[in-house]
């Protein structure tokens, strides 16, 4: 019986990899590289990097390819399975552990023989690591989550603008006031992790995963309290419900002047300035409000994520690709990247270039507030099994929002889902 099983498994594996052998070599030896990214608003910055590198190395030409987020990962997974990963591609913390731990990515820990990596923050470096603590990408950028608000609505309601003294109570009070005075929505709290409840959980001293990533934190009082607060926001008249958000993205609601506040990632600010010229001057950004009575900590937190540039494990010895990656992590490259304003370079000291990119507009957005928040930023939540539990957690959360589950039952179920995934992952 065991033999049958083994034979079948072998047969299956053979079928799957039928023609893999036909094309062994992965990395190209010539100088034409492709770079795959998912954010069209960063195409110009990536092209500038490609051009700058080409100027130094006329033999190497890099072609930038843009895909939308969902298709990017569908495609990348298929490409990884087929042994056909692009030469250089962006990696996201949602997925890096899956790719790194399965041996798909080249180890770039030793790419520098100087102290280049010391110019990156611990969070930035951590965001490039596999579970083994090695680095599988060159840090590209760092981002945080900030509060975006509509000044006109605040003025009309006679509420002062958000600042660093704000707590959750100020957030709800201002929302109620704005709704009462203008009929517009206040803070638009929707079912999102990074741009939503994660921030509140960490502000309150709770956590999603414990430090060694062996257990979920949805059974912790601080986490439960923050989740109850965040989910409960939709019970207010001044906050649209999840049905609304399923049809209208919060950003679109904000820029069509339907609501006064929402949480936004720094990577979107520049394109929002560009895409909504009529709105320039009507809105600004502020630091996140803090938890009024945190279970632990000072009540401040914002989720900081960071992307990195990765390459296939097959390119471990590909000098051309490795040299390009190495260059991408230098101060020179990171400054070029920052100056395009879409994302803040991971290299410390490049923040000013990013802030300066906003000088092109007549209205000066208070983006310095975003930079200030790095002092208390929290690394984006991640573990090797996140791709397994991510969509299931979202499904449960949606059940809570639709009233199918109580908050207590829903959070217990979420906790269980994550812990089961971690246990399965550990079992292999």
């Amino acid at each position: 019986m065991k033999n049958v099983k083994r034979t079948l498994t072998a047969l299956l594996a053979a079928g799957m990899t039928l023609s893999l052998a036909a094309c062994g070599g992965g990395g190209k030896a010539d100088g034409n590289l492709t770079m795959q990214i998912w954010d069209n608003s960063q195409r110009d910055a990536m092209q500038a990097l490609a051009d700058a590198y080409h100027e130094k190395n006329p033999d190497v030409t890099i072609e930038v390819q843009v895909t939308s987020w969902d298709e990017y990962w569908t495609k990348l997974e298929a490409a990884a399975g087929a042994g056909n990963l692009p030469d250089v591609f962006w990696m996201h913390t949602n997925y890096i552990l899956t790719y790194a731990d399965n041996g798909m990515l080249a180890d770039v820990t030793d790419i520098y023989d100087d102290d280049t990596y010391s110019h990156y923050s611990e969070v930035s470096i951590a965001n490039t690591m596999g579970s083994d603590g090695r680095m599988y990408g060159i840090p590209k950028d760092k981002d945080i989550v900030c509060l975006v608000y509509n000044k006109e609505m605040f003025d009309a309601a006679g509420v002062s603008y958000p600042d660093d003294t704000w707590t959750w109570d100020d957030l709800t009070a201002a929302s109620a006031q704005i709704y009462e005075k203008t009929g517009k929505y206040g803070y638009m709290a929707y079912a999102d992790d990074q741009l939503g409840y994660w921030n509140f959980v960490y502000q309150n001293g709770g956590y999603i995963l414990n430090d060694d990533k062996t257990a979920a934190g949805f059974d912790q009082p601080a986490t439960i309290e923050a989740m109850e607060f965040y989910i409960g926001l939709q019970d207010n008249d001044w906050c649209p419900d999840q049905k609304y958000f399923a049809e209208t993205a919060p950003g679109n609601a904000f820029f069509s002047e339907q609501g006064a506040m929402f949480l936004e990632g720094t990577w979107n600010l520049l394109s929002e300035m560009k895409n909504y010229p009529d709105m320039q001057g009507k809105w600004d950004v502020a630091v996140l409000p803090k938890a009024p009575n945190p279970v632990s900590g000072d009540g401040r937190a914002t989720i900081s994520n960071g992307l990195c540039y990765s390459t296939s494990a097959k390119n471990q010895d590909n000098a051309i690709v490795m040299d390009f990656l190495k260059w991408l992590g230098t101060e020179e490259a990171q400054q070029i990247h920052s100056s395009y304003g879409a994302a803040i370079s991971g290299y410390e000291g490049c923040e000013d270039e990013w802030v300066a990119a906003f000088d092109q507009f007549d209205y000066k957005l208070n983006v310095q507030a975003c930079i200030d928040m790095f002092d208390y930023s929290v690394q984006s939540v991640n573990d090797a099994t996140r791709p397994v539990w991510k969509s299931k957690v979202t499904d449960e959360l949606l059940k809570i929002y639709s009233g199918e589950l109580t908050v207590t039952d829903g959070l217990a179920s979420i906790n269980n889902i994550i812990n089961t995934a971690i246990a399965d992952g550990a079992a292999g």
């Binding site: 023609s19 094309c23 069209n40 072609e63 390819q65 495609k75 298929a78 609601a253 002047e257 010229p277």
Partner: protein, 279 residues
């Protein structure tokens, strides 16, 4: 008296016929009208309660945003190439196979024809990843060939042209054969020209479905300059989320070439499709 009432009821029928046809036409056209009207509004105006019908201010920036986000020129060309070659492949290979299945005797005919029939029941989503892997292994993703690949052969086309050849009396072929044509000449010179209308129908059918294909082009060609109109639109949605004025402007750009072709060849389009229903 009797004829009078007959005429009355006939008139009533005529009125009802027009009423239903016109009401139905309004329902059919309205979404297109709404697409155009929305594309001319600013995001703010599009989200007013209650909605305005005609734009208060005509806002053309949406078209500019759509044009700067997608290289429509390349998308038109890619879509054209994909449609053209898928049509050619469908006609050439399906004509040959359809003729053989209809008119020639050979071993394995029933088994092979069953393969053709069963293929039509399979959901096309299951082909995506395996076909992608095949192309990836030979390094042919991000190419025009990749767009054509799943359409190299057509089970429906084979089935459809077999029906067409079945409708041609076998005596015609036999006569040609007696005149000294070999099998190929009989097919190519005598039988094939008799299926002209069916080939035209297959052309239109294949073109319409290739144009609508969404998932395959999205997965196989991710470079924005290698996309088709359908996959480009999906990318636009990923970028502009629920900013409908821009999405509608982009949709209009994507639809215009096909609409123009349709308006010119409207009769051929419809009559071609009518034939695919078979007898």
């Amino acid at each position: 008296m009797r004829t009078g009432s007959m005429q009355g009821s006939r008139r009533l029928f005529t009125v009802l016929t027009y009423f239903f046809l016109i009401a139905g036409s309004v329902l059919m056209v309205f979404p297109f009208l709404w697409m155009i009207l929305t594309s001319l509004k600013s995001l703010g105006e599009s989200m007013q309660i209650p909605p305005t019908f005609f734009p208060a201010v005509y806002y053309f920036n949406n078209f500019k945003d759509a044009l700067t986000s997608l290289p429509f020129g390349a998308l038109y060309i890619n879509t054209g190439i994909m449609v053209f070659f898928r049509v050619i492949c469908a006609i050439v290979f399906s004509s040959m196979a359809g003729y053989a299945f209809a008119k020639l005797r050979f071993k394995g005919k029933n088994v092979l024809f069953t393969l053709v029939l069963i293929q039509m029941m399979m959901p096309s989503q299951i082909f995506v990843i395996p076909q992608y892997e095949m192309l990836a292994k030979v390094g042919l993703t991000e190419s025009h060939f990749a767009l054509i690949f799943p359409g190299l052969v057509s089970a429906f086309g084979t089935f459809f042209l077999r029906q067409a050849y079945m409708g041609i009396p076998s005596e015609i072929g036999e006569a040609a054969y007696l005149d000294g044509c070999n099998q190929w000449q009989t097919f190519y010179k005598v039988m094939l020209p008799l299926t002209g209308t069916s080939i035209a129908a297959l052309t239109i059918f294949t073109a319409v479905f290739a144009y609508a294909d969404l998932m395959w082009p999205l997965v196989v060609n991710t470079d924005i300059n290698m996309m088709t109109l359908s996959s480009g639109l999906a990318t636009l949605k990923g970028q502009f989320m629920t900013n409908y004025p821009v999405l509608m402007a982009g949709s209009l750009f994507a639809m215009v070439p096909m609409l123009i072709l349709y308006l010119i060849f409207q009769r051929q389009f419809i009559e071609g499709i009518a034939l695919t229903g078979g007898k």
